[in-house]
Symmetry: C2
Subunit: 348 residues, 2 copies
C-alpha cells in the first residue's frame, strides 16, 4: 500500500510509492555531451578568463595577486545576465487590480574553484567551507541594502537543474520581497513554536536521532544529514545544523567547517550512488534581519537554517506543479540506506 506522508513544517503531503520503489539504478541520468577543450577555453569562470565576467566583487586569492586576474580560489562577480538590476528604486505601483514593482535586486555568482572540471563535492573540505564563508559575507553585505528583504543562496548543477554553465558555481539573488515558499516554511515553524515553545527543526533532529535513526545519512558534531520523512523527491537530502540557529549569516567558522564536511560526504555519496546526477541545493534562512528586526516574533527561536539538496532524477509532472502534491517513487528510508552504504573511499 502506498503511503501519504505530511511534511510537519509546511503541511505538504507526499505520495510515497512504496511498492514499485525505485532503486538508484532505475534512474537514468540525462547523458550530457562531453564539453570540447575549445568550449572550455571560452568558459568565463575559468582561471585566466577573468576579463569575461563583470568586475570581481570579492575573492579569496593568493597574497600579491590582483583583482580580476588569476590567483584566486573562490571568486564572486555580478551575474552577467542578471534576473534583477541593482540600480533604481522599487517603484511599487498598480495597474488596475494588479501589483507590480521594478525588478530591483542583486544577482551574484560565486565561482567555486578556478578548475573547470571539479564539482563542488570534489573540492577539499576547507575550500567548501571557504565558499560558504564567502556566501555568508556576501549576504551580510547585501543585507545592508534595505531595499532587499531576502537573500537566496542556491546552486544549479547541470543542465537539467537549470544551469547554463558547467563550471561549478553558486548563485545569490537578493530580492525586494520574501519568496512565498520561504514565508510558508517560516509560518509553519512559528506556529509550531507558538504551540510548543520548541523549534520544529530541533524536534525533527531529536526524533531522527533518538527514535528512529534509519533516515540519517551522515552526522558529525555540527550537522545531521537526513532523508526527510516526507521527501518530495527521490534521494532528497536535508543538511541540518544540530545547534539551533535561525540565520545562516550567524553561523560561525566552526559551524561552517562541520557543514562543509557533511556536505562533501553527502555530495560524494549522491555522485557515486546516482552516477553524477544533476542537482539543486538551496539554503533556507530567515529574511533580512535588519528589515524585520522585531517584527517577526519567535522567528529567531522557531526557525532553523538548513540546506535542502534535490537530485534531478525525475521530471516534475503537471500534477505536481499544479497541486503542490508530490509523488516520490523512493521511500526516504530506502534512499538513506543506499546512501549510508555507498562507500566513498578514494572518491576525492
Amino acid at each position: 500500500m502506498p503511503e501519504l506522508r505530511k511534511d510537519p513544517i509546511t503541511a505538504r503531503w507526499v505520495i510515497m510509492a512504496t511498492e514499485r520503489g525505485k532503486r538508484p539504478s532505475d534512474f537514468v541520468p540525462e547523458t550530457e555531451e562531453e564539453e570540447s577543450d575549445e568550449a572550455i577555453k571560452h568558459c568565463p569562470f575559468c582561471e585566466g578568463n577573468e576579463a569575461m565576467t563583470p568586475p570581481e566583487i570579492t575573492a579569496i586569492r593568493a597574497p600579491g595577486t590582483q583583482k580580476d586576474t588569476p590567483g584566486w580560489k573562490v571568486r564572486v562577480t555580478a551575474n552577467k545576465f542578471p534576473a534583477l538590476r541593482i540600480e533604481g528604486d522599487l517603484g511599487r505601483r498598480g495597474i488596475g487590480m494588479y501589483d507590480l514593482m521594478n525588478g530591483v535586486g542583486a544577482h551574484e555568482v560565486v565561482i567555486e574553484s578556478p578548475d573547470h572540471k571539479k564539482r563542488l563535492g570534489h573540492l577539499p573540505v576547507s575550500q567548501i567551507a571557504d565558499i560558504f564563508k564567502v556566501c555568508r559575507s556576501r549576504v551580510e553585505d547585501l543585507m545592508k541594502d534595505r531595499r532587499f528583504d531576502y537573500m537566496l543562496i542556491f546552486k544549479n548543477q547541470g543542465k537539467s537543474a537549470g544551469a547554463s554553465l558547467n563550471h561549478a558555481h553558486t548563485q545569490i539573488i537578493a530580492t525586494p520581497i520574501v519568496p512565498k515558499r520561504v514565508i510558508e516554511e517560516i509560518d509553519g515553524a512559528i506556529s509550531h513554536y507558538q504551540a510548543k515553545r520548541r523549534c520544529i527543526f530541533c524536534d525533527i533532529i531529536d526524533q531522527e536521532q533518538m527514535l528512529a535513526t534509519h533516515r540519517i545519512i551522515y552526522s558529525n558534531d555540527e550537522i545531521i544529514a537526513i532523508s526527510p520523512f516526507a521527501a518530495r523527491f527521490p534521494f532528497e537530502v536535508w543538511i541540518l545544523p544540530k545547534k539551533h540557529l535561525a540565520d545562516f549569516t550567524m553561523a560561525s567558522d566552526h559551524n561552517l567547517q562541520g557543514f562543509a564536511e557533511a556536505l562533501k560526504v553527502v555530495l560524494l555519496k549522491l555522485t557515486k550512488a546516482l552516477n553524477k546526477p544533476d542537482y539543486n541545493h538551496i539554503i533556507h534562512t530567515i529574511p533580512n534581519r535588519l528589515n524585520f528586526n522585531g517584527s517577526n516574533p519567535y522567528i529567531e527561536e522557531g526557525y532553523h537554517w538548513h540546506m535542502e539538496i534535490i537530485p534531478r532524477l525525475t521530471k516534475l509532472a503537471g500534477f505536481e506543479w499544479g497541486s503542490g502534491f508530490y509523488i516520490n517513487p523512493t521511500l526516504p528510508e530506502v534512499a538513506a540506506d543506499y546512501l549510508r552504504d555507498t562507500d566513498i573511499t578514494g572518491e576525492e
Copy 2:
C-alpha cells in the same frame, strides 16, 4: 528594467525578464525520437489493444460494440501503475511527530482517441468536448466516495512534461486530502470575496476585457483565453469560463462546447508557434462538494473553475522550486501577441 509582478490570487511574485525577452524561436524543444511502428503496436492505449489495460470503467463507443473491444472514441480505465490504491481505509496515524495515512485514492486514465498519432489539439471540437464531459462524469462518480476530498484532472503531454506514454490521455487522481496549492488558491479567492463581495477571477476577466485587451489570446461566448499578468512560465495560458462557476462538474454541455472550441484554438496555436512543445494542463476546481458542503463559506461565490496550460519550454531551476519565486523570460503581453498572430488555418 525587469519587472516584479504579483499574482493577485495567490500573492506569488514573478520576475519578468523584460530585456532579454525570449521569442518563440529561442526555445528549442527537446527532440523526441520518432516511435517505431513496432513500439506503437504495443501501445496499451491503441484501438485493438484494449486487453493491455485494466478493465474499462466507461467509454463513448459505437452502438453495439462491447466493453474492452474496439469501437470507442474516448475510453476510461484505471491506471495500470496507480500512484494510489482504491481499496482500504485511510488509516490516519502518527509516528512520533509525523503524520501519515494509507495511500488510498483513485488514479484513472482518460484515453482521448483510438488514434495513436493525434494530439488533443488535433481532435475535432466535438471530441474534445466529449473528453471533458467524460472527465466531468468520472469526477461526479468519484465524489460519491466520501474518502476523497479532491479530484485532480490533468494532462502530461510529452516526456519533458512527465508523460510515460505518447498516446494522448488525461489523468484523474482522487485524493483523500486537498492539495496545498489548491487550498492556497481557494484561500486567496475567498479573501478577495470577503473584502469585495466579488469573484477575483471575474474581476480579472473584466479588467482583461475592458481595460487592457493585450493579454487576450482568444475569446468566444463562453471562454476567454489569456496570458496571465503574472505568468510563471513563458507562454503560460489560462482558459477562463466567462460565466461564474466554482465547480467544474457543474459546467453544462454548452459550457464545455465553448471550452473545447477555445482549448483547440489555443493548443493549435501553441503547437504551431512553439514547434509542438511538451505541455501540462490542469483543471482547477473546488474540493469534493459533498464532503465540504457548507463548511467552506463563500467558496461557491468566490472561486471560479478554469484550466491552466504550461508549455514545458524552460527547466525549473533550484531557485524556483525552493522559493516559489519564478523567473519568466517572456512577457505575457509578448506571448499573447505571438499567439494571437499565429495563423492556424489548415492546422487541423
